[in-house]
Amino acid sequence: MGALLEVEDLTVWLATRGGPRKAVDGLSFQVDAGEIFGIAGESGSGKTMTALALLGLLPHAAKTAGRAVFEGRDLLAMPARELRAVRGRKIAMVSQDPSTSLHPMLSIETQLTEHMRHHLGLGKSEARGRAVELLATVRIPDPEQALRAHPAQFSGGMRQRIAIAVALACEPRLLLADEPTTALDVTVQAGILRLLHRLRRERDLAVIVITHDLGVMSAVADRICVMYGGRTAEVGPREDVLTRPRHPYTRGLLDALPHPEGGAATLQPIPGSPPALGAVPEGCPFHPRCGFAVPDCRAVRPEPVLVASGHLAACPPDPLGGAA
Amino acid sequence: ACGGGGATPSSASGQGGKTLVIDTAFQLKTTDPARMFEPTGLLIDQSIYDTLLTFKGGDVTKPVPALAESYTAAPDAKSFTFKLRTDAKFSDGTPVTSADVVFSLNRVKNVKGNPSFLMDGLTVTAPDPATVVVASEKPNTAVPFILPNPALGIVNSAVAKKNGASDAEGADKADTAESFFNAQSLGSGPYVLDSYSTTSQVVLTVNEKYWGPKPAYAKVVVRNTQANVQRLNVLKGESQIAVDLSPEQAKGLDQLQIVNGASPNVFFVFTNNNPEISKISSNPKFQEAVRYGIDYQSLVDLAGEGAVQAPGVVPSVFLGALPAGDGVKRDVARAKAALAESGLQNPTVKLNYPSDVQVNGLNFGDLAARVQANLKEVGINVELAPASVQTALESYRGGTEEMGLWQWGPDFPDPSNYLNFLPGQLVGLRAGWAEGAAPELEELGAKAGTTVEDSERSGLYVDIQHKMNEAGPIMPLIQPAQILVAAKSVSNLQSNALWLVNVRELG
């Protein structure tokens, strides 16, 4: 089965006072139908911009280049009208903070049915019926009652479930989940991750999960893309990337995490901090912080290359290659 | 639907007959004659209420019969007997009797409102239904000139009493009829009050029962309008008469008629004669220097077309006024000489004036600035001391101003009103001119106050003013113009010193 979404050489420039700056720089990946694809990376690495670029929702005056073929059509080249027909209908999005992504003044019913009625041409009661089903699907108790309520009447976890219900309303093929659990407690996060997992299974839904939490990645993603400075550092199957990383950056991220078994060992930070927008170094963006950097890293821009089956890494010296 | 350009707004009211729209900036507190003394009130009440005597057109030197067919004055000027006409009726059809007259005049006296001073020292009696006697404690030649005042309009006493009016002693507390008067008029004049508001408009409609000839206009609307808007309205035909335009504003309105009447208001300056207030201003030579240092012509120019120099304190439209040529002429040399004689070196005086009022479109401030410039040329430094009229009035009334620029509007159009300017009298005291300061003048004044015969009276006032122009602390300056601008369709329009527009007589 072919890829549902094929992103090729995606580049995003954002407008800043100093002129356009690249926030995403030649990113390529593909997502298969029914797959959970994870995008990981530190703050500012361009994860959110990647998602927004796919939906044409980038901030004011941003520009894109490259291709993002979804069901045979390039999302980036699509006229605004057609893209609007894809949004919400074919590709839906769930964002980080459910307390800000749901409209505080509109009833759950309005928020859950307005796009159903728009995209699917449903009548009021029809849409309502489906809304009740949806709420039941995401395990909101007493869905009838919930429809009349407003977001403020729900807890954070409930709100995120509702936000997911909103995203699923028109039965999209692809769900972009931008840090869907970051704002939630671990206990609640577990429930949301389970929900995503189940939905994928039941609905053959493809999901792009964006997160900086490798633990979350490990729990749900089938394949993982690690971004750094707007570029791909490494892409591959979950287990490969997390247990046999081939890029020093991925390695560094994993080492910075508390050891799974605890113990007295101190944490291992990556020295320095991620580059600011527009200040991404030449060559390998990670080289100033990389313990394995060789002179070439400074000059040559590394492209992701296949290092194992389905596993690409953008680190030509491949210092971790032997470690596997 | 919006009458943007309609030149004949009469259509709006129906009932046939023409509508007259008069624009004026309201100075109106009430239409109850016993309490009314503001210009707009005078204009309105004059059309509603008949008085015993009245003036024709703009001539205020000759009282003519109104409700009184005729009158006789006692030789001592202490009593006046009026014969009432018998056909006069109030707007409800009841005849006007001497009882109504007594009631009305006593009411003015006892309500103690703004016009009550008109009745000072006067008592009214009615020997029979058609006769009224007005008696005065002191000889009072002004009575026939006082009586035309619309505040002394005759009201329907029966209806008034029924609605709370009282003419008895203590009416200031007992009389509760004011709001009734403001809702409904009780006069015998050609118009009745239709609607009343102190900020928007007053509407008069014709009195069907009026005893005299029917007026030309079936309806009169007096609207509260700013002067500058008045000009546009009358130009556009929205209104027929504009009352408050300055001479400058009236220029170049060729398609309209302009009725020019000299205003009875007189601007004057005084230099306080009281040495305790100022050693400078009380110096007679200094006073002379001021008198001849002022450039009267430049002040007239400032006041615009129609304004004239006030040759004496009595305005030109009144009996006893000086002829125009008798005014003081500027004489810089004489002024300088007088100043030198006074022994004052480069004197500096403070000139008080009310800065926030205008009279006939004229600012005190502008006048004061001119006076300052004039006197500078003869070596007198004038320091301008503007203040709000409320504040300034206090020092003016207290007689504590070193030098003052003020204006006198007549209470009634009789020269006796100007006896106030003499030493020891109301205005004289304000100028620090104490009793006994000019015995000759004071004697003349006393005589003028008791002389009945008009030509004799007139001569006395002329003498008084000539004397005042020779020496003394008061210098009359100018009489501004009082201008009416009207549509050409309004005929027989005249400007009256008392009630501005002769509404009754319009053709």
């Binding site: - | 400058e248 800065s355 926030d356």
Partner: protein
Amino acid sequence: MTSDSTPLPAPRARRDPAARSPWRQPLALVGAAFVVLWVLVALLAPLLAPYGPLDQLADKLLEPSAQHWFGTDELGRDVLSRVIHGARVSLPLAFLLVAFAAALGSVVGAVAGFFGGWVDGALMRLADLVFAFPGIILAMAVAAALGPELRNAVLAVVVVSWPSYARLVRGLVLTARNSEYVMAGRLLGSSSVRTMMVDLRPNIAGPVLVMAALDVGNAVLLLSGLSFLGLGAQPPTAEWGAMVAAGAANFDRWWVGLFPGLSILTVVLAFNFVGDTLRDALDPRTARAIRG
């Protein structure tokens, strides 16, 4: 020692208030230019004006000409000279008014926000009261009572215009007072007065300044409005509102009222341009909105 001693990254622009330089905006530039221009005009009025503001020249109501660029008025005074001298009346008083109102309001607001509790309650209720009080009516009453002088009008307007500053400052103090950096300072042993002066003052000055800049325009409008009604500056003072009123007496002589009116407009507009831009630059709320 931990290893994060790499060179600092390039300054981050996104939270830098100064980086959003307001002076790059053309409107602000135009506004600033006009403000400077008018201030200069006010300062140099006697040098710039071809005639004295009160000099009554021979000819009344002359049309604009080479001799009298803005014509002459009904008393034969040079309108240009009067317009120039008018700046000396309106501008200093407007500044004075705003300065007093801002100072009074800031002190009240700071005290209220700082002490909280019943002090806050009482002061803010007072502010509410004064805020609800119709300012222009008070100004009129004061003018009528104390005499129609611009000075009195200023006094009256100050009395009613401090509450907006009090509210602004109180709000700022309250948020700042609960902010973590103030708490940190207090934990270090900073007294509350020192906190106020050292930590809060710089954060409050900016917004107050912006409000004041916008208010100068309003003050000019209000004062000229009062003069227009005859309750402010009195003739023969060359004041713009009073000049507009004089011009209104004679529409055919458009120049008498037009130029003073335009002067008011340009001054107010200039301060609004500047104030508006400053606000955009300083107000984190709109600034955030602009960043998207």
